[in-house]
Amino acid sequence: MLKIQDLKVEIEGKEIIKGLNLEIKKGEVHAIMGPNGAGKSTLSAVIAGRDEYEVTGGTIEFDGKDIMDLAPEERAHAGVFLSFQYPVEIPGVSVTNFIKTAINESRKAKGLEAMEAKDLLKLMREKQQLLEMDKAFMSRSINEGFSGGEKKRNEIFQMAMLDPKLAILDETDSGLDIDALRIVANGVNKLKSEDNAVMVITHYQRLLDHIVPDFVHVLFDGKIVKSGDKNLALELEDKGYDWIKQELK
């Protein structure tokens, strides 16, 4: 589904990603771990198409197609979803209005009519329940005054509504208490299927207790330096990143 080959990325002349290879197939859950500044968030932003990063080499293919020249919204229409580490506030735009616009823009791109209001409401109710969200939440301005947990739950709610092929969760566990973590992870697991894939970016093992990865990759200094199964995450938790650094020397 996602195939990244020898990816090199710069921002303001500084190389952040230095030849990264990664392949994610459908039905798989991949965890990307690594210390601060390793390039984890840069990787997710580049896949989503943020243009302040300059890609200086390599390719990103999604569903067999090169997506490097696609605008972020076109990548979204193709099925890429990014759950933001820091979702932004948009005052005056309700959660309902925002998700309605997002869904209908995607449908428009596919040549479909706008979703009927009653179908949209039904879908929203279903996904609200999945994430244990209150109905009143839907009329609040998006992310404005949301707690850390509410922001992340809202991200996963949008993911549930948009039903992407590839979901990238960028430090979705940060700022979550134990209950919120369980709800969010539970939501992600319920949405998981044979046809989609998840890429979890995290510092910590604790999210991976709930969303169990098939593969774990360690990103360090712009490259994937070690890959393994879920046990690698446990080992990292136990030994810390210094262990990797030592191994690399």
């Binding site: 243009d51 919204e73 933001f84 735009v93 997002a102």
Partner: protein, 480 residues
């Protein structure tokens, strides 16, 4: 090019979609401003003697006045001698029904998206349409007449209801109030008139549509709206003009009178031609709007200002009566080289008077948007309250936004609150929307409409939808 620059580039390529000219035969008098012209206008309109004297008096005072320069706008002052002060679509006789309206004119309304027939059937909005100087069609007149509501052109009101016109015209905006109101008083050619009788709730939105068509003309309309005791009316006003290279002058006067316990809701969607992207042409919109509230009365101004090259406009409330309420809700968008100096005046005279000001400015391109507002609490205005909120949204770094709040308080019991914010549409917000599949144009529309929600919510439903579209159009460019 950063994302933002690209958007700005697109934004500055906006085309004005109402820029067409209608080919209608017009009766236009020769250019120039003097007493004879005023006499000619008055004669053409078959006006009573008192009104001609009133006009001439206004003109005498006008000649002693100078054009105001305190607003934060720069423009080449219009040459008042090179304007024709009367232009009317030629008509053979008074119109009895819409069937008799010039088909070219009807086509114009269709292009403007105001099919009269459609409106008659569906929305139940009564419309008065003013092209250049003259009111050409008023719908729903009979139905309103059954309730005693008078809704017609001001010319007609001068003929049919002279006592009401004489009593109230110039009572809120005196002839000599300012340079442009004096000019308007001398040369106004048409406009709308509305009277709601005691205790009557007007069952539909009343609407006037203004259009400047003829080249080299100014539009000087005069609107007079009287809500008698305990009555209610919601009034809408829309405006467009053809794209022309020269600047056109629009100097209107609107007077509202809300008698005891009456309520007037006055909404404007102003979309005069703003000039091209180099700043050439466009309408000078120099308008005086003011209302007076008697005891327990309420006046609410809502405006969405997207057009005009230069806007100079301060819809105001004189809160004369005790417990009267004034409100001002405004969205003002400036793009390309547009300049706006707009705001309100809330004059608290009565006791326990209350006013609310919500102003949302949006600046893009090389434009300049200014909020200028006065809150004045007079000596006798015990327990007066005001809340003001003035927000500015900037797009890019070549535009400007200023806020000039004036507060004068002469009574210690007054409570005044003022809040102001300035923000920018951030790349983070745009990327967030993009990532969810929302393209940049739609994203800007979404963000801007969210920002203006408090004001747009004040508009009547069908108008709000229109205004939302207009906001997106004014800012998005023709992309997508």
């Amino acid at each position: 090019m950063t994302e933002e620059d690209k958007i700005l580039h697109e934004v500055t390529n906006t085309e004005y979609k109402y820029g067409f000219v209608t080919d209608i035969e017009s009766d236009t008098i020769s250019k120039g401003l003097n007493e004879d012209v005023i006499r000619l206008i008055s004669m053409k309109k078959n006006e009573p003697e008192w009104l001609l004297d009133w006009r001439l008096d206004a003109f005498k005072k006008f000649k002693e006045m100078t054009e105001p320069e305190w607003a934060n706008v720069t423009y080449k002052k219009p040459d008042l001698q090179s304007i024709s002060y009367y232009s009317a679509p030629k008509q053979k006789k008074t119109l009895e029904s819409l069937d008799e309206v010039d088909p070219e004119l009807l086509k114009t309304f269709d292009k403007l998206g105001i099919s009269l027939e459609e409106q008659k059937r569906l929305s139940g909005v009564a419309v008065d349409i003013v092209v250049d100087s003259v009111s050409v069609a008023t719908s729903f007149k009979e139905k309103l007449g059954e309730l005693g509501i008078i809704f017609c052109s001001i010319s007609e009101a001068i003929q049919e209801h002279p006592e009401l016109v004489k009593k109230y015209i110039g009572s809120v905006v005196p002839k000599t109030d300012n340079f442009y109101s004096a000019l308007n008083s001398a040369v106004f050619t048409d406009g709308s008139f509305c009277y709601i009788p005691k205790g009557t709730r007007c069952p539909m939105e009343l609407s006037t549509y203004f259009r400047i068509n003829q080249a080299g003309t100014g539009q000087f309309e005069r609107t007079l709206l009287i809500a008698d005791e305990g009555s209610y009316v919601s009034y809408l006003e829309g405006c467009t003009a053809p794209s022309r290279d020269e600047n056109q002058l629009h100097a209107a006067v609107v007077e509202l009178i809300a008698l005891d316990k009456a309520e007037i809701k006055y909404s404007t969607v102003q979309n005069w031609y703003p000039g091209d992207k180099e700043g050439k042409g466009g309408v000078f919109n120099f308008v005086t709007k003011r209302g007076i509230c008697h005891n327990h009365a309420k006046i609410s101004w809502t405006q969405v200002e997207t057009g005009s090259a230069v806007t100079w406009k301060y819809p105001s409330c004189i809160l004369k009566g005790d417990y009267s309420i004034g409100e001002f809700f405004s969205v003002a968008v400036t793009n390309n080289h547009q300049q706006a100096d707009t705001g309100t005046k809330m004059i608290h005279i009565g006791k326990n008077t209350k006013s609310t000001i919500i102003s949302k400015g949006i600046s893009a391109g090389k434009s300049d948007g200014n909020y200028r507002g006065l809150v004045k609490i007079m000596k006798g205005a015990e327990n007066a309250r005001n809340f003001s909120q003035c927000d500015s949204l900037l797009m890019g770094d070549t535009c400007g936004s200023h806020t000039f709040p004036y507060i004068e308080v002469k009574n210690k019991t007054a409570r005044i609150e003022h809040e102001a914010t300035t923000s920018k549409i951030g790349e983070d917000q745009l990327f967030y929307c993009n990532q969810r599949g929302i393209g940049t144009d739609e994203a800007i529309g979404l963000i801007v409409n969210g920002y203006c929600k408090d004001v747009l919510n004040q508009l009547p439903m069908e108008f709000a939808v229109e205004a939302q579209k207009l906001l997106s159009l004014s800012l998005e460019g023709s992309v997508g």
